[in-house]
């Protein structure tokens, strides 16, 4: 008999019954082997009495207690009886009621039918829409208030956020813009070369960058970098009850957190877009140099082919994108539920919603600009 291990023996008793002897050390490691063997004994003596003899148990902890209780809780007639319990084991068993353990723990929420869940989903959609409209209204009011009372805006925070969302984004925006300009120029130059029209690559790249790709790409990068950051920051504050603290201090989270972020985004998006446009054009110029088009010719061609309206139209679009990205980031942050996982969820939702919004609004802009003849 191993002193460090646990052991289990069976012996016959009267009336076809059986004595199940548990002994030795019963802990989380030893009961792993004993448990299935003990259940097997109960299985083979389904209708005859079983006595559980714990007389030889030398050490028993929570796992041993669990084993004993598991044998006792099985609903069977006659039930398992426990004999020869050492005093120490009995005191460990005392707090538990084997009969109460026969039932599984109550489930958290009763399973709902499909209709109920569908109804709740639709209701959730409605509530989400309601929350968004409310947010847009409140945020607009807060922004207007901020513009009317610029002294009340926390400009220090806004500048800090602008630096994180803007200046810190320059490397990645520059990299993607350069790549975009190079690829765009190279692909079209190869095709145009067949017609000896490489020079018109400048028109193509300048127009598409300034009107579409510059603003769009900047906004998508802003969504990835800053909408997520805003949602995570505000979401974490919500989880930590910091938003509640602000509210009870009489500070409106909307003015305190959202306005600064939206102002920062409004400030940096046009600048970032301008930067992206320039770097993209530089990339295109580099490619065209290899097609024997000198820099002077390229600059000349660009300045003839695009107008200030093209540039301004793109920048206006970018500013609206910035507003949307910051707004939806903050909204998802404010909508965070409780728990650590909720922050991750809010971040994901912020990025996805921001990109969907950007694409949709870009379509709207295309229609408006077309009718305005821009």
């Amino acid at each position: 008999m191993d002193r460090q291990g646990g052991h289990l023996e069976t012996a016959a008793a009267g009336e076809g019954g059986c004595i199940l002897r548990l002994g030795g050390r019963l802990d989380a490691y030893t009961v792993a082997d004993l448990w299935p063997r003990a259940l097997k004994v109960l299985e083979t003596h389904r209708e005859t009495p079983v006595q559980l003899d714990a007389g030889e148990v030398t050490y028993c902890d929570g796992a041993g207690v669990a084993l004993i209780l598991d044998l006792l809780r099985r609903p069977r007639t006659p039930p398992v009886t426990l004999v020869n319990v050492p005093d120490k084991v009995q005191r460990l068993l005392d707090p538990f009621d084997a009969a109460a353990l026969a039932a599984p723990p109550p489930p958290r929420a009763p399973r709902q039918g499909v209709r109920r869940r569908l109804g709740e989903a639709i209701q959730g959609l409605g509530q989400g829409l309601h929350a968004q409209v409310t947010f847009i209204g409140e945020a607009t009011a807060a922004l207007v208030h901020a513009l009317l009372h610029p002294r009340q805006v926390r400009w220090g925070d806004a500048v800090l956020i602008a630096r994180r969302a803007g200046a810190d984004a320059l490397p990645i925006v520059g990299l993607i813009a350069l790549l975009l300009g190079v690829i765009l120029a190279f692909q079209s130059a190869v095709a145009m070369k067949q017609f000896g029209a490489e020079i018109f690559v400048a028109n193509l790249v300048a127009l598409s960058l300034l009107r579409e790709l510059g603003p769009l790409m900047t906004a998508i990068l802003l969504a990835g970098r800053s909408a997520s950051a805003f949602a995570a920051e505000i979401g974490t504050m919500k989880v930590n009850e910091e938003l509640d603290a602000l509210t009870t201090m009489g500070l409106d989270p909307l003015r305190f957190l959202v306005v600064t972020r939206i102002l920062a985004a409004l400030l940096v998006t046009p600048l970032l877009t301008l930067f992206a446009n320039l770097v993209g054009l530089a990339g295109a110029a580099m490619v065209l140099l290899t097609f024997d088009i000198p820099l002077v010719t390229f600059v000349n061609q660009v300045s003839q082919s695009v107008s200030l309206t093209d540039l301004a139209g793109g920048l206006v679009k970018a500013t609206v994108f910035g507003l949307l990205v910051a707004g939806v980031g903050c909204l998802r942050g404010l909508q965070t539920r409780t728990g650590a996982a909720a922050v991750g969820e809010a971040t994901t939702r912020a990025v996805v919603s921001a990109i969907v919004l950007i694409v949709a609004v870009d379509g709207v802009f295309a229609v408006i600009y077309f009718h305005l003849g821009i």
Binding site: A28, P106, R108, G339
Partner: protein, 258 residues
């Protein structure tokens, strides 16, 4: 019944331990032993370094100097299998509870069992249920940590720390945020586990009634002198401590230092 019959002597030995952050010592030259089967309480004003000392005792932080031995084996600087063997000897309840937010309470308590034992799923569930029942959380098995109160989270964290029935349990402010009745239940639980299983406890707590109920010995840390200003049994400190702060603490007078 000590957890490891082959080791006699103190289960935890703290030797010349100096700890701090960024090279600046917070506590210097600490020396104390924790004996098998006792409840050892760490006291001190807030910010005196109780949690930090606890985290050094469980090997989470490396000290600036000195070492910590658990069951005779050096934890400080240990690695690999040797370290894992030492880690398995104790359970920890962190000050914030540190439950995994994406798992139910039952799953939280079951996790150590899944990692270290070969029990069947059903058996693990039962062990986890019993642990939750012990801390008064029967019926909350399928709740997420975010859905229960802070006090309940602490109790669930204790249940998780006890999942493997370790020989040593470290508890960082277990009764903070609990109502007096639940807090007294917790004290009774600690005493029962100490009595029946011979478990050793290292507890950070400020609750005077709790200290007088459970503590065999206490040490009191001081931020000013960066050391231990008092040690001994609670009753002895109440009546005979030299340091005025210690006497005031045990006689429950309001102090400016707390």
């Amino acid at each position: 019944m000590p957890a490891d019959p082959s080791h006699t002597g103190p289960v935890i030995q703290v030797q010349d331990l100096t700890l701090g952050f960024g090279g600046r010592p917070l506590l210097e030259g600490l020396n104390f032993d924790v004996h098998a089967g006792e409840v050892f309480v760490l006291l001190g004003g807030s910010g005196s370094g109780k949690s930090t000392l606890l985290k050094h005792m469980i090997g989470l932080y490396e000290p600036l100097a000195g070492e910590v031995r658990i069951g005779g084996e050096v934890l400080t600087g240990s690695e690999g299998a040797a370290r894992r063997r030492i880690l398995r000897r104790f359970g920890v309840m962190y000050q914030s509870g540190a439950l995994f937010g994406s798992m139910t309470l039952l799953e939280n308590v079951r996790l150590p069992l899944e990692a270290y034992t070969r029990l069947s799923r059903e058996a693990m569930d039962l062990v986890a249920r019993l642990k939750l029942q012990l801390v008064g959380l029967a019926g909350f098995e399928h709740h997420m940590p975010a859905e229960i109160s802070g006090g309940m989270q602490k109790r669930a964290a204790i249940a998780r720390a006890m999942a493997l029935d370790p020989g040593i349990l470290f508890l960082d402010e277990p009764s903070a945020g609990l109502d007096p009745v639940t807090s007294a239940d917790l004290d009774r639980l600690i005493l029962r586990l100490k009595d029946i299983l011979g478990m050793t406890f290292v507890v950070v707590t400020h609750e005077l009634p709790s200290i007088f109920t459970i503590a065999d010995r206490v040490i009191m840390l001081d931020r000013e002198t960066r050391g231990i200003i008092a040690r001994g049994a609670p009753a002895q400190l109440r009546d005979h401590a030299e340091h005025p702060w210690v006497r005031r603490f045990f006689n429950r007078e309001a102090t400016e230092a707390a």
